[in-house]
Symmetry: C2
């Protein structure tokens, strides 16, 4: 069963598209034929999949003929082509925010709500990077003790804003070291040796869309309206998002209990021996597929408080790995 | 009254010592004679005060003869020489953590508890950088509405770890750009394009000493045991600490009310027009003496929740400026 190899399209050749190709190969996803699709600007470019050169093609509706699985890396392509892909019979796993809150579209983190894929009508949405790593850490605590409230502050890497933003960080740093000025173009502010609480656009209530993604996507994925308040901050780190997460559980959990619950949970690696210098960091999480949790401490300012420090590779678990894991769930369920 | 110029000693020639000299001059503190003291390693070095070259002298007990005011920049010198300075009749304002929680030593932020200086016995302690900027923002809210709980996550610049740490960041960044490896020596982990939740040492309960400073110093300065839980994080920013502060007040404050209360408060500049790209950042706060507050939002996950984003120059308001302001309070009270 399910041994048939699949024709797979990856739509997008930016940082997330590249990570999708890498993760498909690393996890030995059963690919028959791979197509890499992008805008006309990138068509003709060469990329690599499992050691083989692949020529990027311009995305057109006809691109999806014969495609079983289409992974959309994000951006405008989803609005334009996800429906076309579905009409051609493909299952779409979409990393853009377009469909995430659509009630007809499952929003899935395989460690949290894999069964949600069963309700799909062609499109399954991949959540926002900062939401994915948080819910992987929250779900086991929710199951064990309930969650009354979450206060999260993020430390989000530049790769989440795309390859051009990484180039901008590096160029600004070179300029600063040489005493030159460099104006922001991709990011909203100077990022070299700086940081700012501005990711995605501002909403009328003064929060950002990124902050509201962490609230609304968490509700949908967890299937529970857990109160979440978020402050999302861009930091001059190339790759790997960190989060300081303060939670109030319904039932008291000692730090040691919380640590054991998280240690046994899927997709989590505990790094929590601070006296030995062991705690999660972007530099050590980068290139890895798991969510790293450490600094697990009781917070005695409320009855059942806990502090957690949660780090993951935002291009991998926060995007590409999670998308490929969704495809793996579909295979496991015989739906692909 | 109080017009006599004073003999001032600055003890320490690192980042904070330098900032103390700059701030004394900028604020036209009435200096008769300036002495710059340091270890034998730095003796003979030339520094500048108000455009004049000053030769650094090795600190000895006799250094404090005739000194009216001694500003200790931090480190081991305080333990060794603060008592000597007092015995010689100087008032000591000490930026180290040595005396901060000593019940006989006032711990002062002039915008918050200036009157506390009246109880001094020769030494007044300057609080930790991350605490100072937080309490400047919390005090007006506490006075207006009470404070039930504070959850703070920090984004702390490298300058807080001293000049050698800044050099280490820059060298690691150069190494990374050139594809070389560079091991951490001053900081506990690689800092280039990385960050870590490790400032000062870890305590048995899993928190850091830095995190407990934010709790205990806040209690002492505010004169109230407001529940505070902190996660302190070192980020690859040269100068300027940022803090995501979530507060629960006793009485409800709308975001607009909180903004007006903070706008009228001493030492605070409101930068809160996010749609126009205006919010506090380390890069814009660096070199300034005020505390910058923005992203003021209601947090509806609790009855009376507010989110604030608080940024200040950790070498200035977080250290040197606060120390000089304490000296100004002493002058104003006729105590110096």
């Amino acid at each position: 069963m399910h041994m048939a190899r699949l024709n797979v399209a990856v739509v997008g050749t930016g940082a997330v598209g590249e990570a999708m190709l890498a993760v498909l190969a690393e996890r030995h996803f059963p690919v028959a034929e791979i197509k890499v699709l992008a805008t006309s600007r990138s068509a003709g470019k060469k990329v690599f999949f499992a050691g083989q050169e692949v020529t990027v093609q311009e995305t057109t509706p006809a691109s999806f003929a014969g495609v079983h699985l289409a992974l959309f890396a994000g951006g405008d392509a989803s609005k334009e082509f996800a429906g076309e892909a579905v009409r051609h019979g493909a299952v779409v796993i979409d990393n853009s925010s377009t469909f995430r809150l659509d009630p007809d579209v499952p929003l899935v983190v395989p460690e949290v709500n894999p069964e949600a894929v069963r309700g799909h009508h062609g499109i399954i949405a991949n959540p926002n990077c900062s939401t994915i790593q948080m819910v992987v850490a929250l779900k086991p605590l929710y199951d064990a003790a309930g969650l009354r409230r979450v206060v999260v502050s993020t430390y989000q890497a530049i790769s989440g804003a795309g390859s051009d933003a990484i180039a901008e960080l590096l160029e600004q740093i070179r300029a600063a070291l040489e005493g030159r000025e460099a104006q922001p173009a991709v990011l909203p502010q100077r990022i070299a040796f700086n940081l700012f609480p501005h990711i995605d656009v501002f909403l009328p209530d003064g929060s950002t869309k990124e902050e509201m993604k962490m609230v609304n996507e968490t509700h949908k994925i967890m299937g529970a309206d857990i109160p979440v308040t978020a402050t999302c901050v861009r930091v001059p780190v190339v790759n790997g998002h960190a989060e300081a997460v303060n939670v109030e559980t319904e039932k008291k959990l000692a730090a040691a209990e919380a640590r054991e619950i998280l240690r046994r949970a899927p997709g989590i690696v505990i790094q929590d021996d601070p006296a030995a210098g062991l705690y999660p960091m972007p530099f050590t999480a980068s290139g890895r597929d798991e969510v790293f949790v450490g600094r697990i401490r009781e917070d005695n300012t409320v009855a059942n408080g806990l502090n957690l420090w949660v780090v993951a590779d935002n291009l991998r678990k926060g995007a590409a790995t999670n998308a490929v894991q969704i495809a793996e769930v579909l295979r496991e369920y015989g739906m692909l």
